[in-house]
Symmetry: C2
Subunit: 366 residues, 2 copies
């Protein structure tokens, strides 16, 4: 199901086979939380050559709800996207005090952001929901915690995450759907090790590293990735959840990570922070008003092929929705092009040089 | 420059030649006020087969400003749209008390909605601005007044509109840019006649009917159109400004109108009012949640080709930008398809039947 096709030191290229086709790894997934990307239609995602995206099983369970999904013959048909889809447990929502009511070993009690209604999700219930959604990859329920907790709390959350992972796997019956386990443990070396060893042994189709890029320091994040990766089977696909920025992707691919999702590229785009190989471009700055060249001449997104920085600056300053559309498209396409180039570098056995050059160019103005 | 190619009673098909190519008439122009449609990129407009749109010369003069437009070699190049563009004087803005400071025979003093700065526009200055913008069709400065004024005020505004039209024409030098005169006169038969006769005699490239669809009663609007058309040369292209709804287009084409612009289709789309040949569909209504068929199976917009009413309902209820994009695209494409079908009916000499059938189907649930 996952086949490594090239390696360049720890970085690797591969193919990940799902019920809706193969994904070339490494890859970046845009976030399509509730059935559409923010300011991105599926028309955009097709044009951007998106291979796969991730949706939120919690929120889809609430809206449109599983009855609608069943009537539509699954989530793929409801949204009419016939390529691979991941669904996340929504563990990330546990960080939101408006959402989380309480949590114990049985599962999670939470409040619908749409209706205020109270719902309960157990590991078994979550797997059943994802089974009905029919995503290609279902993530287990995990206990995500922000960095402002003590070690005892992280230890309990890790123990719970391990127990929930086992229950998710045991209750999962759908042969067409892969299941990924998630390593938690905050930034603690021993907890990451404990969790990674336990999750690794359970026989998941893929292995995810979660609970990062949520406020911890950057160097601690990288160490936590290392602590986790060390105990995970090399041959399994590795997914670093919620990460992130172009430099994070490039560095993590260098460590052997294969898969990423993040709202960062689209969120930045909506705030006028535009990715280029020579660092970020702040489109709203006045000095862009008379720059009559594209954001990146090498980029094949609509904005780069058809528009100048001056025009996009004009739209952004006027807060036109078209700016958010065009700039979100660019940043997503930037991420896809980045992993496409990373794959090429790995195939040529030159990933280290690629990483070095990318980071030098991208961070030179920082 | 305008050639009538087919007629079906008063309705007619033709070709209107501009510096950026021919436009098939009748046609509908989406509104691209400040350099982008609302939730519509030029990528969308191209896909929707938009022939031409209208932008606002007042607002473009303020932002990005004429210096930027000059540096970009004109508005077409600034936005990179190489097909015909109309620019409106912005007479419509005179209805906005936030915008208009004062007005007399010399011109208009108004406040920038961006900076609060005060600007003065004379007929001559407006033509110079539109000349710099380089639009294919420049509209004259006219005195637009809402229906809550008395006849004396309308009479003065009509006299002013006529005087301004003459000054616009006299100061216009750009051979590549067509100039359209505008008939005002509220809903008064004698004022419309006076204005139409005067404007008609000046030798404009096209003749517009303005000051309608701004709050007056529907039957008064139709009468005012008739009062104006009666005194305008049959052979000249006729533009009904700011109108409007699908039924208004169909009825007005039946009277001999060739050209329309309106924000109505996109504004309605953003409010969930979706055009179909069988009347409007209110996408937000709960009964749409399980309708797994397209808005219109005959429509070739992305939403109709790829998505169901149920999916669009879901996005709309979640207030996703993707809903506004997809539904705006549909309503604009609906307008373009409507005039395409109108042209076909005129060519076949069957416009009357087309109009009758369209209105029967479109209004049957009203």
């Amino acid at each position: 199901m996952f086949k490594i096709t090239s390696e360049s030191k720890l970085a690797r290229c591969g193919e990940f086979k799902t019920a809706h086709g193969k994904i070339k790894t490494p890859f970046y997934m845009p976030v399509v939380t509730k059935g559409a990307g923010k300011f991105l239609t599926f028309n955009s995602l097709e044009n951007l050559k998106t291979q796969c995206f991730i949706s939120n099983a919690y929120l889809l369970y609430l809206k449109p709800g599983l009855e609608t999904i069943k009537k539509a013959n699954g989530y793929h048909n409801f949204i009419n996207w016939q390529k691979p889809i991941f669904t996340d447990s929504g563990g990330f929502q546990l960080l939101d005090p408006e959402f989380l009511i309480s949590l114990n070993d049985k599962g999670v009690k939470f409040r619908s952001p749409f209706s205020g209604e109270v719902h309960f999700i157990s590991p078994e219930k979550l797997m059943e929901n994802q089974n009905i959604l029919g995503s290609d990859v279902a993530m287990v329920l995990d206990h995500v915690m922000g960095p402002d907790h003590n070690k005892k709390e992280f230890s309990e959350a890790t123990t719970r995450t391990i127990a929930w992972a086992k229950r998710c796997l045991d209750s999962h019956k759908n042969k067409n759907q892969k299941v990924f386990g998630i390593v938690q443990g905050g930034t603690y070396k021993d907890l990451r090790k404990e969790c990674a060893l336990a999750i690794n042994d359970m026989g998941f189709d893929g292995l995810a590293i979660g609970g990062l890029a949520i406020g911890e320091e950057k160097d601690k994040m990288y160490k936590a990735i290392d602590y986790s990766l060390e105990y995970l089977d090399k041959d399994k696909i590795k997914y670093l959840m919620g990460v992130g920025s172009p430099e994070d992707l490039v560095k993590s691919i260098g460590k052997g990570v294969d898969c990423f999702d993040s709202i960062y590229p689209t969120k930045m785009a909506r705030h006028g922070v535009i990715f280029t190989r020579n660092g970020v471009l702040k489109i709203g700055k006045s000095y862009n008003a008379h720059i009559f060249k594209p954001i990146e001449k090498e980029c094949d997104c609509y904005a780069c092929k058809h528009h100048t920085i001056a025009y996009l600056h004009h739209l952004y300053r006027l807060d036109e929705a078209a700016a958010k559309i065009l700039l979100s498209e660019h940043n997503v396409r930037f991420m896809h092009r980045l992993v496409e180039d990373a794959r090429k570098a790995i195939e040529e056995g030159k990933y280290e040089q690629f990483q070095k050059k990318f980071l030098k160019d991208y961070l030179k103005n920082k």
